[in-house]
């Protein structure tokens, strides 16, 4: 009711009832496996095996197989970590903030976006662990009474990262699962196979739609949304602290937290669009994920993209305004140094091309929008490359200058995590309803209770 009714089309196609909504969404899970799905899953799985091979070599030979060295001690590992975790921001954001502000258009995309969040966070979380050198000792990061008599340094942003990312993963999973419970009950009741009924039955935990249960459920769900909103902001802020708290020129900027958060939402929405555009077509879900959704997502991208551009601009202005020679050199090096092509590509893909989104005609043109989203996916990756590599490769002392390039294992791991992400996503689409069925029911006209009260 609070979305502006400005001729953007409906948020659910006409002619749907409780039955059709339920059956159509549940059918994606309960029907036979389709060939296209098999193909997609197969390709993803092949990519996943690349990841496994790269990790196997890493375990045997150590992180020397990567391109990192002094002075660029952080490379693809942290670039991809930030890239993935940024992508993982749209899901919870869509779910939480839009729920709090009663933006009903979220309903069609939130489940899918939340799943995307979880898988992206899983991919992100792998990188710092792999970078540990001895990944099997990852539990040393946690505060537990160990035989070394030591505790982690809680003043370190890397420690904040551990807490932020693990809290984020946990809360996102809870949020996602709580949203799934009523739909799992639907699948339990709709499934025709005994195994399916038992498995969905266990997962649904005996949900029966009791009014008393719904009452507490709604409270808990809203509270989770309320908690997730600042959490999302905190997570990418903490990621930005990984850089900003240090004193490397190009990292140490107070604008980093909000600018990273905006970048994360930007990247996240781009990825949601990248994935929904083909999916809605393949599964014929155009009635549920309408042009209005796509349009809204494009607008959010435009807004957050402008914030990111603002961040770039402030960095350059303040580098000059500060009068600090290291800051000025950092900007000069970005613009004219050995990585200037990357910086130019970043500005092109992340700032210039997305300006197309100002036009309604672009926002409603699916192929063009898809292209813009892809451009942003690339652009946000380049942004992290520029921030990390270009800031590190010129140390304070010219004697410690160096260059960086990823090795085949860097690229393999990156492609491999894309495989992991897609594999999980394909499994999710096949096994769980990708649109929240019970919330879609509430959008139907027949769900409205008549105003008359006795």
């Amino acid at each position: 009711m609070s979305a502006p009714a400005r001729d953007l089309g409906p948020i659910i196609g006409p002619g749907h009832t409780f039955e059709t909504v339920t059956d159509k969404i549940a059918a994606v899970v309960l029907s036979e496996t389709r060939k296209g799905w098999m193909l997609g899953f197969g390709i993803s799985f092949v990519l996943l095996t690349i990841f496994l091979q790269c990790v196997a070599v890493l375990f045997v030979r150590g992180i020397g197989i990567w391109g990192i060295n002094i002075p660029v001690g952080w490379g693809f590992d942290i670039i991809n970590f930030v890239w993935w975790i940024g992508i993982g921001h749209a899901g919870t954001l869509i779910s939480a903030i839009l729920l709090l502000f009663r933006q009903t258009w979220r309903t069609s995309i939130n489940r899918f976006a939340e799943a995307m969040t979880l898988f992206a966070v899983a991919c992100a979380g792998l990188y710092p662990i792999l970078h540990l050198g001895r990944p099997w000792l990852f539990y040393w990061l946690l505060p537990y009474p160990n035989a070394m008599g030591m505790w982690p340094n809680f003043r370190s942003p890397l420690m904040w990262d551990v807490f932020a990312v693990s809290t984020y993963a946990t809360v996102s999973a809870l949020f996602w699962f709580v949203g799934l419970i009523p739909d799992l009950a639907t699948l339990r009741d709709r499934s025709t196979s005994k195994v399916g009924r038992i498995i969905y039955g266990i997962l649904a935990m005996g949900w029966r739609g009791s009014a008393r249960h719904w009452n507490r459920y709604e409270t808990a769900y809203l509270l989770l949304a309320g908690l997730s909103t600042p959490l999302v902001v905190s997570v990418h802020s903490v990621v930005s602290f990984d850089f900003a708290v240090g004193i490397i020129p190009g990292w140490h900027a107070t604008i980093f937290p909000p600018y990273f958060v905006a970048g994360a939402i930007y990247a996240g929405f781009a990825m949601v669009l990248t994935l929904t555009i083909p999916l809605r077509r393949y599964y014929g879900l155009e009635d549920f994920i309408t042009m209005r959704h796509i349009n809204y997502m494009a607008r959010v991208m435009l807004a957050t993209g402008l914030v990111v551009a603002y961040g770039y601009m402030m960095e350059i202005f303040m580098a000059w305004y500060s009068g600090n020679p290291y800051e000025s050199f950092m900007v000069k090096n970005r613009l004219t140094g050995p990585y200037k092509t990357l910086y130019a590509a970043l500005i092109l893909t992340n700032v210039i091309i997305p300006q197309l989104l100002w036009f309604q005609r672009v926002r409603t043109n699916i192929p063009l929008l898809f292209a813009v989203a892809m451009s942003i996916n690339v652009g946000m990756w380049l942004e992290r490359y520029v921030i990390i590599v270009v800031s590190l490769h010129r140390d304070f002392l010219p004697s410690s200058w160096g260059m960086y390039a990823g090795t085949i294992f860097d690229y393999g791991t990156f492609i491999g995590t894309i495989g992991l992400f897609l594999t999980l996503l394909f499994l999710f689409i096949r096994l769980l309803p990708m649109i929240s069925i019970f919330e879609m029911r509430t959008l139907l006209p027949e769900a409205k209770v008549k105003e008359k009260h006795a």
Binding site: T17, E19, T22, D23, M150, W151, P152, N153, F154, R155, P157, M159, W160, F163, A164, T167, T170, V171, L174, F175, V178, P182, A185, T186, R188, D189, R190, G201, I202, M205, G206, W207, R208, G209, S210, A211, R212, H213, W214, N215, R216, Y217, E218, T219, A220, L223, L224, L227, P230, L231, S234, S237, F438, E439, R441, T442, E446, A447, V449, K450
Partner: protein, 179 residues
């Protein structure tokens, strides 16, 4: 209905949420109290008719958040000041600004866990078995139908009488729920 097996209650099925609300209102007027409605999506009006308004979840979550906040501060204070005091870059042992992020994360984590676990516990879940599932048509409660169950523990409950009342409320069907 010859064999007198114990019953959990009587279950009426409605095709429309307004009929359900109407039925609850009538039964409440007649004095029935022990009943529960089952809907395929949350309907605020239904639980209001049933007399369910507030719940404990918010309060629990507040307590959980507070506990998480204290845990976060306590953990960092105890480890950094008492158990393992060490000079890190000249910062004070109790570095207040630096301890904010983890305190915040702990607050959110505890509050979220309380929200989910508290909601499930108060709802008595997981409970894979429940008598209402004995009604075959109850599978539609997760699709498009609205159910109302009058429990046999209600003082006014009477197998035949209550059944007649329910049948007068334009349900799709009325069924006994075996216990």
């Amino acid at each position: 209905m010859t064999a007198r097996v114990p019953v959990y209650g009587l279950m009426a099925e409605f095709a429309d949420v307004n009929h359900l609300i109407e039925a609850i209102r009538k039964l409440r007027q007649m004095g029935y109290r022990r009943m529960d409605a089952f809907t395929p999506f949350p309907v605020e009006e239904v639980w209001e008719e049933l007399g369910v308004h507030r719940n404990m979840v918010s309060f629990l979550v507040f307590c959980g958040g507070l506990a998480g906040c204290l845990f976060g501060i306590g953990l960092q204070y105890w480890t950094s000041v008492i158990d393992y005091p060490i000079n890190v870059g000249g910062r004070p042992l109790f570095s207040v600004p630096a301890f904010v992020p983890i305190t915040f994360e702990c607050t959110v984590l505890f509050a979220a866990l309380t929200a989910v676990l508290g909601m499930l516990a108060l709802n008595g879940l997981p409970a894979p078995y429940h008598p209402v599932f004995n009604v075959p048509r109850f599978a539609l409660a997760s699709r498009d139908r609205f159910f109302l169950c009058v429990e046999s523990t209600d003082p006014l409950f009477d197998r035949e009488g209550t059944r007649r009342v329910l049948e007068s409320l334009s349900p799709v069907s009325v069924a006994e729920v075996p216990d």
